[in-house]
């Protein structure tokens, strides 16, 4: 790593939380010329819902928190405007994925397109050598092949590698994640030592632009503004018998049990979302299990475009445990994944990441069940 070089210029992505604040201070201490930057991604006035008062991204309060940390070491601090890019890529994709009956990971797309492509471009424009983030993951380089790869953070409970599978080699080569080798408790301790005053807010797992965590409301308001309607339809069982009605397939995700508005003797779950037929198919718990997934938009990280199938631990959800599977690379940045054991609710639109122990080998988007 380049950590030992002096006075290389780094643009540090700051959210307002302690992780990115400690990242800035840590890199400054290591001799980098640091510049703090907050990405303004979203105007909460755009689609209803006010930003919560507990200091989220994109609020003036969190911007002031970032500025304070930068001021404490005399580093410049800038707010960079990515609102248009964010709307045109992340939000549009978020809506169109639900429209297509899939369940998107907006954070993954935001990482790839905004936090890396957009932010890194701006950093290079400012004459920076690197960007840095407060992610709890590590970036390593294979000195033999020259390939960069992502390794789960030392603090496995905080690891964020699942959302980083889309990063290009160029992006990884120019990114520093100094918290990857630290535990959250150590970061908290450092924040105290650096006198970073802000309280350690509960980490949010929600989608940042849906402040009230109600994506139904967001979809309704967003589409209503554009004069687009939702198609109501039937909720049916596996044999096609009607059990109830729905206001739009967009408001359902695979594996969902609550809020179906139907009464059955045994609990039923959303098994299939059919946007063309405007149908939601439900089934019992066992019907959710499947062993294979077809994956698109594959990005290889530690592996360089492998030709042969390989075994890996595979993660299909942010919070799920990795499961053993055979990954078969296919032409056209695709892959087929066969799990050793059936998995519950493999969900089209979600990210899938292949690991060898702590090393992220590659990842992609689940397109359909095999």
């Amino acid at each position: 790593m380049t950590d030992n070089n002096r006075k290389e210029r780094v643009l540090v992505a700051m959210s307002g939380g302690i992780d990115s604040a400690v990242t800035l201070r840590l890199l400054h201490e290591r001799g980098y010329q640091v510049i703090g930057a907050h990405m303004k991604l979203w105007d909460f006035s755009e689609v209803g819902g006010e930003a919560k008062k507990d200091g989220r991204c994109c609020t003036l309060e969190s911007i002031e928190d970032c500025r304070e940390v930068c001021d404490s070491i005399g580093a410049p601090f800038y707010v960079l405007n990515f609102v248009e890019q964010f709307r045109n890529t992340v939000i549009k994709n978020f809506v169109s994925e639900y429209r297509a009956g899939r369940t998107p990971n907006p954070c993954v797309l935001c990482n790839t397109e905004i936090k890396w492509e957009g932010f890194l471009k701006r950093a290079l424009e400012l004459g920076c050598d690197f960007i840095a983030t407060g992610h709890y993951s590590q970036i390593m380089k294979n000195e033999d092949t020259g390939r960069y790869y992502i390794v789960k953070g030392t603090d496995h409970t905080r690891d964020q590698s699942y959302a980083l599978w889309g990063l290009s080699q160029n992006a990884l080569a120019r990114t520093l994640m100094p918290l990857g080798s630290l535990k959250k408790s150590e970061v908290r301790q450092m924040a105290r030592e650096y006198k970073i005053a802000r309280p350690d807010r509960p980490e949010s797992r929600e989608i940042c632009f849906v402040a009230d965590d109600n994506y139904h409301r967001f979809l309704r308001e967003w589409e209503a503004k554009r004069g687009r309607k939702f198609t109501s339809g039937e909720i049916v069982d596996e044999d096609g018998a009607k059990l109830g009605e729905h206001e739009g397939v967009e408001f359902y995700t695979l594996g969902q049990r609550r809020g179906l508005g139907i009464s059955t003797r045994k609990p039923v779950y959303v098994k299939e979302i059919d946007p063309t037929g405007a149908r939601i198919v439900v089934g019992d718990s066992a019907s959710l299990m499947s062993k294979t997934a077809e994956v698109g938009l594959v990005n290889w990280i530690a592996l360089d475009n492998p030709a042969e199938p390989f075994n890996a631990e595979v993660k299909i959800r942010y919070l799920s445990r990795p499961a053993r599977a055979k990954v078969s690379p296919l032409p056209g940045s695709r892959a087929r994944v066969e799990f050793d054991e059936p998995q519950r609710s493999i969900t089209p639109g979600q990210s899938i990441v292949f690991y060898d122990d702590a090393i992220a080998l590659g990842g992609g988007l689940i397109e359909r069940l095999g």
């Binding site: 510049i35 290079l124 004459g127």
Partner: protein, 403 residues
């Protein structure tokens, strides 16, 4: 600068944002200090402390009136240019509402005028933005075509804050007056740079601000020709003849008067110096940067086309935000269009009104020079900027291939 030290050497910061604000002249500060300390009296009080403040306030008013060619009774102190613009637009529109309910303003006005006009719409007024030419001029024909017998007021700025274009105010006033329409001009960016005399211009209302002319922030003046009706925006006393109630800012008024005296005393020599700096700067950049364009008119000898200290440039294929930030990292302070509360850069509405594409409007940078600006400053920016632009263009898809 801490940042310069961090780089391992001291860099003298270069301030090229004088249209945003200027440092208080030490002579201005000296004149103000007594009115914040021992001569602290409320100018409306009857006792000797009050009288002392009142005398200073009225002396300042007289000085300003004389320097603008106005009567003392026509000068009203405000909290600055924004409030003066608000009083001129809303105050006059409201006072005349029963007779006329339409207000015109140019599409390149400062937001104090543009947003006041928008606010008037909610009160039932009809407001209309007058289009400008690609150099930023409002033509007499444009104004003449837009005027009607229902128009109470037209507001067209004397010189523009972003591109420096100077309007032919006397000619436009004549057009407005021929339809018995009052005329306001925002002369905030003209003071000390080009001649401003209310009679020569012929205007009915005029705005000036102290902090753009090496005076304090929070002090401004609206000139209103005798007989012009104004409804007060705020209520609470009879200060400024009831048109702008509130305890008088004596120190601010004293500072504004002193600042005006000082800038006018050196106006002619500074004007010549700014022409030289501006031409040198543009020439140097043109020889080093391709596809760069000047927003607003070129300087023309013997004519008032542009305030020479304002140089607004667009760099095709390079966004304004990284240019400003890159220069800031090099301790050079410049600006682009309007900045929102969070500090994020938006495309300039002024340039859009002048027919610029949103891309070019986003790529514009305003360099505004002032009394401390030296040839050495201009030279250094002329050295740094080409490198910054080429670095940014390397990241642009349209320029990447040519590299």
């Amino acid at each position: 600068m801490k940042w310069g030290k961090d780089l391992g050497y001291e860099m003298k910061p270069i301030y090229l944002d004088h249209n945003a604000t200027t440092p208080v002249d030490p002579q201005v500060l000296d004149a103000m200090i007594p009115y914040m300390t021992e001569k602290f009296g409320n100018a409306s009080s009857m006792h000797s402390f009050g009288r002392e403040g009142k005398v200073a306030l009225e002396n300042s008013r007289a000085t300003i009136a004389e320097l603008l060619g106005a009567e003392t009774s026509e000068i009203y102190f405000t909290s600055g240019g924004t409030e003066a613009d608000n009083i001129a637009l809303k105050g006059v529109a409201r006072a005349l509402k029963k007779k006329r309910s339409r207000v015109l303003y140019s599409a390149i006005e400062h937001s104090a005028i543009r947003q006041s006009a928008l606010a008037l719409i909610d009160e039932g007024f009809i407001t209309e933005a007058l289009p400008v030419t690609k150099e930023g001029y409002v033509t007499e024909k444009t104004l003449s075509d837009a005027l009607d017998d229902n128009t109470s007021l037209v507001s067209i700025m004397h010189s523009n804050n972003e591109v420096g274009v100077i309007q032919d105010i006397p000619a436009l006033v004549e057009v407005a007056h021929s339809r018995r329409t009052l005329f306001h001009t925002d002369a905030v960016q003209s003071m000390g740079k080009i001649p401003v005399n209310v009679d020569d211009l012929g205007v009915d209302l005029l705005t000036i601000s102290a902090h753009k002319i090496y005076g304090p922030k929070g002090a401004g003046v609206v000139y209103a020709r005798s007989g012009v009706m104004i409804s007060p925006l705020v209520h609470g006393g009879s200060h400024e003849k009831g048109r702008r109630p509130g305890t008088e800012n004596v120190a601010g008024a004293v500072g504004l008067a002193k600042a005006l005296e000082l800038v006018l005393a050196r106006q002619e020599s500074e004007y010549k110096r700014m022409i030289e700096l501006s031409e040198k700067f543009i020439k140097k950049l043109r020889s080093r940067i391709e596809n760069m364009s000047l927003n607003g008119p070129e300087l023309v000898e013997g004519e008032l086309t542009r305030v020479p200290s304002t140089v607004n440039l667009s760099f095709d294929g390079a966004e304004g935000e990284p240019i400003i930030l890159s220069l800031d990292i090099e301790s050079v302070a410049v600006s682009s269009g309007s900045a929102c509360s969070s500090g994020a850069v938006e495309p300039s509405p002024v340039l859009l009104a002048m027919g610029s594409t949103p891309e070019l409007a986003k790529s514009s940078i305003r360099f505004s020079m002032g009394k401390s600006t030296t040839v050495a400053d201009i030279d250094r920016v002329g050295e740094i900027l080409p490198d910054v632009i080429s670095r940014i263009r390397k990241m642009s898809p349209q320029y990447a291939e040519a590299d």
